[in-house]
Symmetry: C2
Subunit: 416 residues, 2 copies
Amino acid sequence: MLAPIPPTSTLPAGSVGSVETQYVDLPAPVRLDCGRELPSVRVAYETYGTLSPERDNVVLVCHALSGDAHAAGVSPTSPEASTRDGFAAERRDGSAGKGLGWWDGMIGPGKAFDTDRFFVISTNVLGGCRGTTGPSSIDPATGKPYGSNFPVVTVADMVRCQRAFLDVLGIERLAAVAGGSLGGMQALEWAVLFPDQVDAVVAIATTHALHPQGVAWNAIAREAITRDPAWQGGHYYDTGRAPDAGVGVARMVGHITYLSAPALTEKFGRRLQNARDIRYTIGEPEFEVESYLRHQAGSFVRRFDANTYLYLSRALTYFDLARQHGSGSLVRALEGVSARTLLIAFSSDWLYPASASQEITDALRALSKPVEFHLIDAPYGHDCFLLEEAQQIPIVRRFLADGSAASDLEQRGLCD
Amino acid sequence: MLAPIPPTSTLPAGSVGSVETQYVDLPAPVRLDCGRELPSVRVAYETYGTLSPERDNVVLVCHALSGDAHAAGVSPTSPEASTRDGFAAERRDGSAGKGLGWWDGMIGPGKAFDTDRFFVISTNVLGGCRGTTGPSSIDPATGKPYGSNFPVVTVADMVRCQRAFLDVLGIERLAAVAGGSLGGMQALEWAVLFPDQVDAVVAIATTHALHPQGVAWNAIAREAITRDPAWQGGHYYDTGRAPDAGVGVARMVGHITYLSAPALTEKFGRRLQNARDIRYTIGEPEFEVESYLRHQAGSFVRRFDANTYLYLSRALTYFDLARQHGSGSLVRALEGVSARTLLIAFSSDWLYPASASQEITDALRALSKPVEFHLIDAPYGHDCFLLEEAQQIPIVRRFLADGSAASDLEQRGLCD
């Protein structure tokens, strides 16, 4: 029997095809951890696959700091708007080109989040700059962009906003909530805040609380932005100036923390731009890695809002399950979790090291909750969650297929 | 027999006492790797101990990026000018207070560089901002500060400048040349450029060529400075504005790369400034580590020139013994070395990892040159070379005492 001919011959096998971001206005104000309330919130989202009549096949996918609702497929209206960049963008150059979702390798027919089975939903987070209400949105009270008057949001606020959004769609339960990095924090927060509504958590390259060095890197990135005079206290939107210089530096810092030192050595070494010799220049890129950083900063500035960077960076440093929900105890914070949990970490990830996933695993095991932890040996650092699909897909597929058998399996040996 | 009473009772045992920085104007222009020439060069220096009649007991100590000529003792004229900061400054608070040299723990009677035996000389490097000619110096051709018209200097240029300076003092040979980080690069460069004039090299927490991630961190720090509008293309000296914001970010990046993640966790954890809870702020420090970073940036900006940061950062990324002297081969680059070499690296140093010292060791051993490599197990990261004196002192003392026995000892097992 011949394989069916795909609907669009230019799309690679396993693609969800052409998608467009949609928008929902929440019917009620959103109450925030900081005590303030957002009177009107719009949520940008995409969906892939088909909602079952029983509405029991929903997977919510949560993005990381620089992501957006466009997680899979090709966005024909804004082909330049892919949130893939760096190593991830380069890896894709040879396949479907630009406009591809940031987790396209994981979402689609036959992939980790199999759209033949699941109805996958991806939203832009609260505080974002890609369609969901954030600091660049208009404050209805003033008719101008919020800027730094936007309330400080937490990961829990993001999750409550997703909860309110799913209510609008008439979706009560999640078969799974999944994400990497800040997205993984959201997934864990879902399991704690709404334990009766989440069947499974897939938390990749993430943590229950960022370690102090990670807090420091985020502080430095924010300092780079707020010290840029063009930031103007956060009210730059209508001034014709934006803190592009600072955002560029912030992105460079982020980018190096997302990669491993060996990956940089393998990719760039100490190769010079000018193969013959150094040119004795202070201000211009001299090594290939310097030129790469400048390029990454430039492309990021074109697609990302400085204030959103500040707000999401702050949210992910605040995230601390033990502080928020356990009076300092991670075990106590996770006491109410009823979802099965899959944790994946990467050996070369020094920003979200495997030790944090191990701590979550230990806490859930101490509570006799079903949990799997896979440590994948891979070289690219934190960005592995965007790059190492081949190793993640079978783990996630089997975990999601195993929905009925909620057993605490010792699976770590499978892949490390 | 009673120990002699120290001359000043307020000084701790082993101190070289009160010192003042001195200055020498080189008698001839300095020719640079970039092809340009500096017509007049002043060198700031300090000395500790007594020059022997045979002039055979000279140890040249070379400083790192943020250091200066004030390596030991107390500087009474500028007590606020200590180049110790961060963990190193705090460690000293209980002893001699401010104004202490950056390597005071290593230089003095009975210390690693024993001033009862050696005449220790420390200079501020070419390109510096603490007395030696650099970008903030007056360009005699214009009567104004060089700014970014200052020629790009290399580590080899720094060493040639030190050579010319020692000629003025009538010193031909060095019993040893020593330094950590950029200072270690200078020590290695000395052994290659002037093999007949160096008896021993002590190169600590250094490398033969910075790895690509280190090149990237330095590029980011420089971008933070050059993107600050107050930098003004490098000509900010007489404008009443300086790129303090950018230098602060550069220093924050540097500071975190000088420390290890576990050291930050041990010192700060995720402790909040406000012990009760988070305050929901984007712009203000919330975690103790954030406040610490801001404090470090502020104190650095007050004592260090932005352009010097750029020039020294560039020099240490250019440094590459194999490229400069070996057509890409480290072994070939080191062929002419005749000094005995002591290498020390620290287990937690991820900016100048031990692997580089191992590569230098392997190259020297392949050439049957006398070399010792000690890997010290210590938690503070790159800054260990400023902090872990207790572990370094016996190694350096024994190595320098062992001057006559130029044997290739396998000493690594002694201390790790």
